[in-house]
Symmetry: D2
Subunit: 356 residues, 4 copies
Amino acid sequence: MQKKTRDYFNIEKHSSLKPGKWNKITDIEGVKVGHSTLADGDIQTGVTVVMPHENNIFKNKLRAAVHVINGFGKSIGLVQIRELGSIESPIVLTNTLNVGTVSTALIKNILAQNEDIGGKAGSFNSVVLECNDQYLNNLRKLAVQEKDYFKAKENIKKDFREGAVGAGRGMSCYGLKGGIGSSSRRFKISEDEYHLGALVLSNFGKKKDFLLYGKSLSDIMPQKDEEEKDEDREYKSQDGSVIVILATDLPLSSRQLKRLCVRAGAGLAKTGTYISNGSGDIVLAFSTADYITEYDSGDFLQNKILKDRKLDIVFKAAVESTQEAVYNSMVTAESVTGFKGRSRESLKNLINNMER
Amino acid sequence: MQKKTRDYFNIEKHSSLKPGKWNKITDIEGVKVGHSTLADGDIQTGVTVVMPHENNIFKNKLRAAVHVINGFGKSIGLVQIRELGSIESPIVLTNTLNVGTVSTALIKNILAQNEDIGGKAGSFNSVVLECNDQYLNNLRKLAVQEKDYFKAKENIKKDFREGAVGAGRGMSCYGLKGGIGSSSRRFKISEDEYHLGALVLSNFGKKKDFLLYGKSLSDIMPQKDEEEKDEDREYKSQDGSVIVILATDLPLSSRQLKRLCVRAGAGLAKTGTYISNGSGDIVLAFSTADYITEYDSGDFLQNKILKDRKLDIVFKAAVESTQEAVYNSMVTAESVTGFKGRSRESLKNLINNMER
Amino acid sequence: MQKKTRDYFNIEKHSSLKPGKWNKITDIEGVKVGHSTLADGDIQTGVTVVMPHENNIFKNKLRAAVHVINGFGKSIGLVQIRELGSIESPIVLTNTLNVGTVSTALIKNILAQNEDIGGKAGSFNSVVLECNDQYLNNLRKLAVQEKDYFKAKENIKKDFREGAVGAGRGMSCYGLKGGIGSSSRRFKISEDEYHLGALVLSNFGKKKDFLLYGKSLSDIMPQKDEEEKDEDREYKSQDGSVIVILATDLPLSSRQLKRLCVRAGAGLAKTGTYISNGSGDIVLAFSTADYITEYDSGDFLQNKILKDRKLDIVFKAAVESTQEAVYNSMVTAESVTGFKGRSRESLKNLINNMER
Amino acid sequence: MQKKTRDYFNIEKHSSLKPGKWNKITDIEGVKVGHSTLADGDIQTGVTVVMPHENNIFKNKLRAAVHVINGFGKSIGLVQIRELGSIESPIVLTNTLNVGTVSTALIKNILAQNEDIGGKAGSFNSVVLECNDQYLNNLRKLAVQEKDYFKAKENIKKDFREGAVGAGRGMSCYGLKGGIGSSSRRFKISEDEYHLGALVLSNFGKKKDFLLYGKSLSDIMPQKDEEEKDEDREYKSQDGSVIVILATDLPLSSRQLKRLCVRAGAGLAKTGTYISNGSGDIVLAFSTADYITEYDSGDFLQNKILKDRKLDIVFKAAVESTQEAVYNSMVTAESVTGFKGRSRESLKNLINNMER
């Protein structure tokens, strides 16, 4: 088991709600996550797949929403989610220039599972989100192949790894190593327990802006004066991006899921970011509570939906789990050296060194 | 030269503004259009490229906007256009499941032209828009290859063909053959002449809804009673989509270009559509008036922008040219027979038959 | 009974669906409409109230949505409808500078009915929409008083008048007299009959742009050459606005109601408008199918919601009833002479003269 | 001079940019703020006016944008700001049920200054934003009168008071006294100094969520265990709202101002909020750099606009000044007792008590 933020710091006081069993997005029943990691010299990149449930997702769509905090991004699939309030695809993360390749892989996968696409079921809306890992990864090589999507998908599990893995392999967060992080919260409504989980692909922020529950890096540990390197400066003109995936087993409408996404933005802000110009900050939320079986018989869906006035606890869960997921992405990530010999130091290492 | 709507019908009274020289989107200086057409048995599809100007588009971005009328669509590139109000990519059209492949081709093309992508210029936002041509094209074969993008790009010209070509090869419009259509308007502001051009990829509507400047098909020509075929019914569950590209040499802000896009929707409505559920109706507009040279020296851009109160003539041009472009897509298209032996009749043929 | 468009023209062929009993928005059970009309010399204005149902609307909210086609408008109440997907207020129409006064009247009315506002029920979201009637009405006199809201509300009925009444008193449409118009459609889903109704406050367009089911005014009747008057020219800089209210008894989500609103825009476009710069074109839709009783016990709502793939018939109903409602606003309106002796001629009169 | 957050706490380390001369929104040249305060027993409310410049604002409009973080609010004027990217009105703040009254006062004021409204200048878009002060103020009395707008306007000055004044009189923030707060930042671009200022009307959050630069209230001072009072619980169902006004002398487009507004949301999040369901959180930003003189001669505007890649320093300024403005609203506010004998304690008092 990877040590996470809670294993290093007492964060109980910053958290009004308890995490689920895994403290991961996979605490939502049916959700699994898999990675394919490419780590070889100047290639430090990969693919991460979030499977929303275990059945045919194209035939069993889920209510969903997206929110673009800052749209300096190249994702595919958002237009239809907005119109129909649903997803019909696994959610895939990768580097910014490989979205097309991964989308094609995803399409081939779903075509193979659904004979009626191209016939009475029409087209398919692939969802691929991205960050730019060009600091550690030779982006121009377009290293991710279609097979990497399939490999990530084969690897899906409940207890997936976080940190410098999958799409997170080459990502940087607050000048340190970022990548995949996750966290979850559980809470009761009407005597029933529900869960909300967040998964982030973190690739944003500058060292001096980082806040760990209000503490800056220099509050936590002595900071050496760093000469800004040329490559750093080059990179800075394009700093950023973060993708947040929120999953919940609570029955929310797509309108409510959109409201939930906005709260993820508050969770990100609490980690210190001012949301830089070059950042593609996108949140996608889905609820596993009901399948939308559009193409079955029957003209109506029967939905049980939470009342809006009961949303506050869910909003808190979204803020807290997004914030903690960012920290988890940093705390679990090992240091990585890649493209042009550049490296990003692991926050975990910094903490361990400090502790010694 | 292809005969267009104006060659068959007296449309002067429906048009308050005159068309440009070509009556095409290429009446805007610098704009060129090219096709790659795949027409072989059950493969009836292709790629169409709109080049916004003749220089390096990544280094010389243009102000732009998008408007989603109905978001049942799978386009890539819209998120960043919304945030930054600019395009940095050729605008490429293809079938719905080949967006990823074409995006990757576009990325390879732009990478080859711009050494600084993946370095100080960061990432690149490819723009690929689509319709679903599954009625005439075997969509599941994912027939479009990366080379088709390059072929379309090699073919760019001012006097491009309209109709059943490029991305329009397999498209259907109002139960007849649709595809690529274009039209333009010219008008004076402050003694200077400006142009607005529209290019559509038409793939929407049912025969009984079609209106040719207010006249239904049965007003124009006798209609035979048609038995609805099974394949027709199958197809209907996913009817639709239309992409509209608007170009102008008038200096408009991205906010104003967004307003322009909304007017394209009025142009579409006048052709009879009620905008069906399954339609992905998307409008993209750009102005060639200024280059946005973000990465040059200097912290400010100097812009000359039209006052909003002068927009009415441009709005009219957008409505009229979009409406006429839809008709042109139908009037120029030849009949096509493709997947499963299905065919779409040419409106041109119907008119010619009627005239005989 | 007022003669409407169907009484003058054969519009069956332009209409795929049948109207309801009244061919008005009041064909939706529970919906009533009332007017207060101010018509005295240079004061030609008023208030129109649409009551969504017969019970306490604040305690029995309805799912709702708004869509801004062109936002040159001054309405109040839209922000909250967007966030919560619901209305808790009668929908009130008036002239552009009296929105504040009418909002205050509405607040006093709802406060009197709901003791818990200002306490546990918090605040109240009044909905007041407007057009600018300054051509016929001396707008600067702010003639509408709080009592006019109450008077309009007392007058609510099923068989309300259309034309130059209530908020429509001073409005102009396509250079002729506009105002209040309404139309409806009925249709079957799963063997049950449902209704959709539209009510417009029409105040947009220029004479030469008008299309009556594809026919221009000069197609219908001989047009005299008109000298453009100075006041006309003055007015033109601010031409326009139209408000569309859609009501349905079909259970739609707020997301679907938003999609419905977009189709009202297609209905407007078919009457000829290119949506001028100065126009505030706003659509509001609500469903009477369920009450949202947020403040009752219970944490969840149970909703029956139409599947999106069944929306096409409703979309058609929205297009057709909006288009016909605009015509009805013109055909029912008498000629009005008002501010500065200006007058707007009645389309009804033109037709009657022509027929003689 | 009122003591502000900087006078109690060392906040240099949390602030990368220096404040302007006043550390208020009035550091932007031309901007002035005035209050009218109603403080008498159960009436604790008022009006605050932000004047964007010293000339006729209707004739000299400014580029502007709005961003709705959470739309549980009743403001007027936002629709047109979105469409035209400009304001033509003073920005007025008041309590939630008096928006109509204040809008009417504002209209009368602007009508008196502009003879051409209702004629060739058309209508006027009043901007009135609100929070719900019902905990301390008897909201149902609709205490604010039209004269209070005029009184606030007479009182405008550079060195305006913050805290429990004007529209802020009855507001609560994080369970303590909130109200009006302001802060500013200055920064250089191309050797020229520019300013950004924030003004907030704070009325959101619960005591346990408050973070003063990462420290909770219990970190700062010992907290007594509080029995939750019935009125508290009642109030909680409608907690919240905050209005943020951002002003800058930097030439930004309306698109860029919209982006700026999003960053104010990050500033709010850093004060601890999770953005509760019942909160109306709205940001409005304007730039004083150019007048938009739409109705002058000339068809084009000449704009100098900052490049997007230079926005980061402005984004930081927006985050920092919004965050500090919230703290200033609390630190400057005196304790207030009002409706039903309820009171909100002053953070200033708490700090002073602690220091003794």
